[in-house]
Each structure stands twice: as structure tokens, then as C-alpha cells.
């Protein structure tokens, strides 16, 4: 006997099938879009890849559910549906005719005979409203895309993208140097994308280590360069002002040497300003000399002032020597600087052989103040006798890095009671004791010993 709710069940099945068809279509379309988005983000915006992966899982499912709900909502036209079922099951419109008789009652004999025919044929009602091939194909395609999206795309993400082309060696060095520059902006680890993906590649994982090593090495080397870096920023900012005052003082000194005559008001102001800026403790001495118009005293005072400023600059230029004299005496220019920065040496006292002039390798004296106004000298090993330290070091990927010991002015603070203030001890035994405690290479020790012997001979 035919079920009384046959038409209702068929209608429900039709709605479910239509909902499934819509869901398959919408899900497959959403899967295609999500897959494309995931592919694009994996290649061009790796940081968004996790979001895209989540979207790949969520969006098709959400679209399918929504489409299923919408697809089930409208009622299908039952006469058309039943006629389609009749056609599909070969019922020759019996089902439609039976439904017609239920809607517009006719002779009972007709309905009974049609129902009997349907029972005799015993159709499989489920096949009357089949799920079409297209929804099945779309579902399969969507599932494949999902699998591909989850299994394949992460591998694509680890491949170098067009924007991820390996930099040239020069560019790499430049970027490393830039990375080594201290900055207020925190450095972005290059392996961030791999970390975001949760699968850091070997390449991206290696970058931070290399960058850190270079940064550390360059930080160690910065004191040797002695030019840039935030620790010396205040000093670098004050240097132009000091240099201007010193140039004015040098011109004043030259003018007095060339034409001894009393100072005018501008020159007096220049002198007072310089003293106030650099040696306030000598302000009264300078004022007395200016008031007395003692040109000799003024000239000597000016020379002393210039000499006080000159040794620091000279020694700073030959900064490699500073490693040999970290325990040098206190200096005004060293105040506020990090401990890693080499401290300037104590300026020699006026009247000494070294006072007021730096000393080159050949022992010739520099003009007073000449080192302060000129750029740091570039030492060529063939000219000034720098000593290479073997073996050469290798810094990361930068290649061989040779260290040199340049000839400088080794100075030890005077021992109390042994020498007069400003005297420098040129006893090599004392120097040797200092060098022996600092792991100076043997060859370098010999060179230093030869140097001291030479300058001792010239300046007993």
C-alpha cells in the first residue's frame, strides 16, 4: 500500500537534494576562491597564510551550509516534480495522475487502479530524485581543493617567491651593515614569515643567527672605526662646535706668531669663549694675561690650550693602540662614554717632547692642532709600518678580516713620585709587563719593543 505521505516525502527529498546541490555548488565555488586566496597569500603575503588556511577550511563549509539552507527553503512545484519523477522512474505519469486525483477527487476506481499499478511496479522512490552528477563532481572538486590547500600550499609557501629572490653579496653586506646600525626601530627578524607559518625553513631560520653574529661583530669593531653609533652621538654633535672654536684659536695663535700685537675685543672674546668651553679652570689665568697684554704669556697659554686638545684627537685616530692602553688616565672627552669605547690618553704636559704634537712612526712631530682639524689618517702598512696580526680572522660571510697593529704612542700613566707630572715613562720593561698581560701576539710585542727602543733612543 502506498504511503499516505508519499508526496510529502518526495517533496522533502527534492528539497534536500536541491539543498545539497546548492551546497555542493557554493562549497566548490568557495573552495576555489579560498584555494586561490591561500595560494596567493602563500606566495606573496606569507604573513596572511594562516588566515587563508583557516578561510580555506571555514569559508567552503559556511558557504555550503548557507546554500543548503537556502536551497531547501523554497517548495518545489509538486506537479512538475512528480512528472519528473514519473519520467525518471518510467511510471508513465501514474504518480502525477494519482496526485491529481487527490487534489481533484475523481472516480475512486481510477485512483485505486493507479495505486495498484504503482504498487505492482514498486519503484525505488529514492531514484526518482537523485543527486545529480554535477553536485557530486563539484563536491569532489571542492574536496580535492581542500586537500590540496592543506597539503600542498604550505610547501609552496616555503619556496622562494619572486619577492624573496636571494640578494646579491653586496646587497647582503649592505643589509647586514644596515642591520648592524643601531636604530630606535627594533629589528624585524627575517624568519618571521616562517615562524608565522609554523614551519620555519632552514633558510629563514639561519638568517637571524647570521645577522646577529654580524651585528655583534660589527658592534665590537665599531670602537675601532670610532665614527658612528649612538654612544658617540653626543660627542659627534659637540665636535663641530669645538672644532670651530679651536680653528678660531688656531687662527689667533697664527696671528700672534705672525704679528705680535695686542688682542682686539673679538680676539679676546674668542679666547675667553674657548677657555670657558674647554678649560674653565684656567679662566683666571687667561684673564690675567689678557688684562696685562702679555703677548708671550698669551701665546704660550694659547699653545697650551691647543696642545691640550690635540693629543686626544691624535690618539683617537690611531685607535687600535687604545687596546693597548685601556687603563689610561682620566680624560674630559671620555666622560659619559661607554666603557667599551677606548679612553683617550692623558695629554702630555706642556714642555715635553710629545706635548702639543702627535707623533708618527718616524717620530716627527705633528704641527700643533693639525690632527684635530684633519680627518683621521689612513695608515698604509707600507708607509707607517703597521703589523699584520696572523692568522687572519674570518667574520661570518664577509671573508677574511685581517687585523693590524698600527704604530701609536704607548703611554703609561706616571708613577707617583717617580716622574714629574706630564712625564711619560718610556721604560720598555714596564710596557712589556703591560703587554704580556693582554695577550698581545709575540710578533706584535717585538714590534712594540723595537718601537720603544727607537723612540727611547731619539727621546731619552
Amino acid at each position: 500500500m502506498l504511503s499516505a505521505d508519499l508526496f510529502v516525502r518526495l517533496e522533502r527529498r527534492a528539497r534536500r537534494v536541491r539543498g545539497a546541490s546548492w551546497a555542493a555548488t557554493a562549497g566548490a565555488a568557495a573552495a576555489i576562491l579560498a584555494f586561490a586566496a591561500l595560494l596567493a597569500t602563500s606566495l606573496w603575503a606569507p604573513a596572511s597564510a594562516p588566515v587563508a588556511r583557516t578561510a580555506l577550511a571555514v569559508v567552503p563549509a559556511a558557504a555550503a551550509v548557507l546554500a543548503y539552507i537556502l536551497g531547501r527553503r523554497p517548495r518545489p512545484p509538486l506537479p512538475v516534480l512528480l512528472l519528473a519523477v514519473d519520467e525518471r522512474l518510467g511510471l508513465e505519469a501514474r504518480l502525477s495522475a494519482l496526485y491529481e486525483l487527490t487534489q481533484h477527487p475523481g472516480p475512486a476506481a481510477f485512483a485505486a487502479r493507479i495505486a495498484a499499478d504503482l504498487e505492482r511496479l514498486a519503484p525505488h522512490w529514492g531514484r526518482g530524485i537523485p543527486v545529480g552528477r554535477r553536485p557530486l563532481a563539484l563536491t569532489a572538486a571542492g574536496a580535492l581543493l581542500l586537500v590540496a590547500g592543506f597539503a600542498l600550499v604550505p610547501r609552496l609557501g616555503s619556496l622562494p617567491s619572486p619577492t624573496d629572490a636571494p640578494p646579491s653579496q653586496a646587497a647582503a653586506l649592505a643589509s647586514e651593515s644596515a642591520a648592524a646600525e643601531p636604530s630606535d626601530v627594533p629589528l624585524e627578524p627575517e624568519g618571521g614569515r616562517a615562524d608565522d607559518l609554523g614551519e620555519p625553513s632552514s633558510r629563514t631560520a639561519a638568517l637571524p643567527g647570521r645577522s646577529t653574529a654580524l651585528r655583534d661583530i660589527l658592534a665590537e669593531l665599531r670602537p675601532l672605526g670610532g665614527a658612528s653609533g649612538s654612544p658617540s652621538t653626543s660627542r659627534a654633535e659637540s665636535e663641530p662646535e669645538d672644532a670651530g672654536l679651536r680653528r678660531d684659536l688656531e687662527r689667533l695663535s697664527e696671528r700672534l706668531d705672525r704679528a705680535p700685537s695686542p688682542l682686539d675685543e673679538a680676539e679676546k672674546e674668542t679666547l675667553r669663549t674657548y677657555v670657558a668651553e674647554t678649560s674653565p679652570e684656567r679662566q683666571s689665568e687667561v684673564d690675567d694675561a689678557v688684562a696685562a697684554s702679555d703677548l708671550d704669556a698669551l701665546r704660550q697659554t694659547i699653545h697650551q690650550l691647543l696642545a691640550e686638545a690635540a693629543p686626544g684627537d691624535t690618539i683617537e685616530s690611531g685607535s687600535s693602540v687604545s687596546h693597548l692602553a685601556p687603563e689610561a688616565g682620566p680624560s674630559a672627552s671620555a666622560e659619559g662614554e661607554p666603557s667599551s669605547r677606548p679612553a683617550p690618553l692623558t695629554p702630555p704636559e706642556p714642555g715635553s717632547e710629545l706635548a702639543g704634537a702627535g707623533t708618527l712612526g718616524d717620530g716627527s712631530a705633528l704641527p700643533p692642532g693639525s690632527t684635530s682639524s684633519e680627518p683621521p689618517p689612513v695608515f698604509e702598512s707600507s708607509e707607517v709600518g703597521v703589523l699584520p696580526v696572523s692568522p687572519p680572522s674570518v667574520l661570518g660571510e664577509s671573508g677574511a678580516y685581517s687585523e693590524y697593529l698600527t704604530l701609536g704612542v704607548p703611554v703609561e700613566p706616571p708613577q707617583a713620585g717617580e716622574t714629574a707630572p706630564g712625564d711619560v715613562a718610556f721604560n720598555f720593561d714596564q710596557i712589556d709587563s703591560v703587554l704580556s698581560g693582554r695577550n698581545v701576539p709575540d710578533g706584535a710585542v717585538d714590534t712594540i719593543r723595537a718601537y720603544f727602543e727607537r723612540i727611547t733612543e731619539e727621546n731619552p
Partner: protein, 327 residues
């Protein structure tokens, strides 16, 4: 239960009727069935075929088998309407003279209008009222025709000289148009045998009555047609119109006017009768398909291009059937 009994009796009656006709008419089953369908649907049939195919014999045999009155009218150009319908003549009754209506040959159950296209349109139109309204109006008086009434008209499709093609309004009154095919070899042998070996054609005795026909009509009327199939019939008819969105290319190219709404009615009614004669109690797509061509082919009016290129309505309808799905 009453309906079930009438259903079975009616179907058995018409099975006997078909067998009785087949004893005389060799072959031509589709023509016989179409005639019976028109009888069951209260319709008329236009038979088209060359002379000598047994059209007149079919009508006479059917009349004998049903025990109904039969009349045959040979249409000629000088045939007048009064010759068909009848006329008032002066008669004398009881010493008084008065007009009396003399009934024409239209007053019969089965009327054969042989070569109907040879009469003038005026005479042809005399059949309109009888065919549609089943009444005859003469001299201000309307006379009812006795049921079952059916007009079977024939026309020769070849000999067109001196003929008057039926106007569209009159053609539309025919429920079906049936092409009478030429018999096959076997059928010809049987025809010659029947007409040469026997002394005369023996018409069958009545196997049914007028009441049986009317009862069968009631049963056929109650046969259900699914709404989907009615929609299908409507789409078929609409597809014959060149301005319809569902019209195939052939319709757009060769059809001037498509089938009328009367065609859809005829199609569904004929499908019902066809289902009844097929022993079914509901209309099937196969019934619609069987009646599609007979019900619509005379309702398609070709345009000049179609006429010039010799396109037939049957070929156009075949294309329509292919293009319009059932569901």
C-alpha cells in the same frame, strides 16, 4: 463501483468496436482509432488522402458497427447549404398549407462530407454550426442534432484544381486531422482478396449503441490528466507560435500562425480518449504524443516561405516535440 463497472464495460465495448471495424477495413488502424477518439470526444475528423483508400467504407462500417444512422454528402461546387441542412417546403396537412422543414443529410449520427473542399465556402460554412454547436438553424428555427454526432470530412490533397480550401475557422472545428496512408502490400493483397473472392462486402452487425458511446464519453471525461501534462500540452501549443521563446527555429522560419487554444483543448481531450482506448485510466505522455500530430497539424498556418519550400506542418511539429521536454 458504478464508475468502475462503466469503465470496464466501455473499454470492452470499444475493443469490440475496433475489432468489428477491422473485419472490413484492412489496416488503417490509426485512422480507425482517430475516428473513434473523435467520437468519444464529441469531435469531428478531417480525413485527408487520395481517392480509393477506403474512407467512405470506413465511415459506413463504423456506422454499421455502432448501429447509428449514416449519411454521405458528396460535395460539389454547385452544392448548396440547403442540400446539406434541409429546407422548408410547403406542405398540406388537414387542408391547410404550411411550411414544413425537410431535414437534410446532416441529420444523422455519422455524416461523411466527401471531398468537402470541392464545395463553395458558403456551403462549407453551413457545416460550422452543426459541427460545433450540434444544431441546425433554418428559417428562424433551430434544430438539435442527435447525439452521438460526428462529421467525417475528406479532402484530396493532390487534385487542387477547382477546389475551395477550407477556411481556417472551419478547419479549427475539426478535432483531428488524419492522413490516410496508402496500404502496404500485405494490406493490398488482403483488400483485393476481400473484394474479389467474396460476393459483397459484409458489414459488421452492431456491437454497440448510441448509449454505449455516450456512456463511454462520460468515462473518458473523468480520466485524470496530471497538471504537469496539461502544462506540457500548453507548452507544446505555445511552441508552435513563432514569437514564443520556446519556439524552435523551424517554427520561427516557416510558421505564420501557431495553434489556437482550441488545439490545446483538443490535444488533452484526444489524449484522454486515447488513454481510454489503450486501456488506461490516466493520461500518459505517450497519449499526448500520439495525439499531438493529429490534433495540431491542421492548426498550423505556414508562411509564404514555408509554402514555397514545401515544408509540412508535420515536420515542424516533430521538431517542436523534440524541443519541448515533458518535465
Amino acid at each position: 463501483m458504478t464508475t468502475e463497472v462503466r469503465l470496464e464495460e466501455a473499454q470492452k465495448t470499444f475493443e469490440r468496436l475496433e475489432r468489428a471495424v477491422a473485419q472490413v477495413i484492412v489496416g488503417q488502424e490509426p485512422v480507425v482509432r482517430s475516428t473513434l477518439i473523435a467520437l468519444l470526444c464529441r469531435g469531428n475528423v478531417l480525413l485527408e488522402g487520395v481517392p480509393g483508400l477506403g474512407k467512405t467504407l470506413l465511415v459506413r462500417t463504423l456506422a454499421h458497427a455502432l448501429g447509428l444512422r449514416f449519411s454521405r454528402i458528396q460535395f460539389t461546387p454547385d452544392l448548396m447549404p440547403a442540400d446539406i441542412l434541409g429546407t422548408n417546403i410547403i406542405g398540406e396537412s388537414g387542408g391547410a398549407r404550411r411550411f414544413e422543414f425537410s431535414r437534410g443529410p446532416i441529420f444523422a449520427h455519422i455524416v461523411l462530407a466527401d471531398e468537402i473542399n470541392r464545395a463553395t465556402p458558403k456551403t462549407q460554412s453551413a457545416l460550422l454550426e452543426a459541427m460545433e454547436e450540434r444544431t441546425v438553424s433554418v428559417g428562424g428555427t433551430t434544430y438539435l442534432l442527435e447525439e452521438p454526432f460526428i462529421v467525417l470530412a475528406t479532402q484530396n490533397p493532390i487534385e487542387m484544381q477547382g477546389t475551395y480550401p477550407l477556411p481556417e475557422a472551419q478547419v479549427d472545428r475539426f478535432l483531428l486531422k488524419v492522413n490516410v496512408p496508402f496500404p502496404s502490400l500485405d494490406e493490398l493483397v488482403r483488400i483485393t482478396t476481400l473484394n474479389t473472392e467474396s460476393s459483397a462486402i459484409v458489414f459488421p452487425s452492431a456491437v454497440a449503441s448510441a448509449d454505449d458511446v455516450l456512456a463511454a464519453r462520460t468515462v473518458v471525461h473523468q480520466i485524470p490528466v496530471a497538471l504537469g501534462l496539461r502544462q506540457f500540452a500548453g507548452r507544446l501549443v505555445l511552441a508552435t507560435h513563432p514569437d514564443s521563446a520556446d519556439a524552435p527555429e523551424t517554427v520561427r522560419n516557416y510558421v505564420e500562425y501557431g495553434a489556437s487554444p482550441r488545439a490545446a483543448i483538443a490535444l488533452v481531450r484526444a489524449a484522454k480518449a486515447h488513454a481510454f482506448l489503450s486501456g488506461q485510466v490516466h493520461v500518459r505522455p505517450a497519449d499526448v504524443e500520439a495525439m499531438f500530430l493529429p490534433a495540431l497539424q491542421h492548426r498550423i498556418i505556414l508562411n509564404f516561405r514555408g509554402e514555397a519550400e514545401g515544408v509540412t506542418p508535420s515536420s515542424i511539429l516533430a521538431e517542436v516535440w523534440r524541443k519541448v521536454p515533458v518535465a
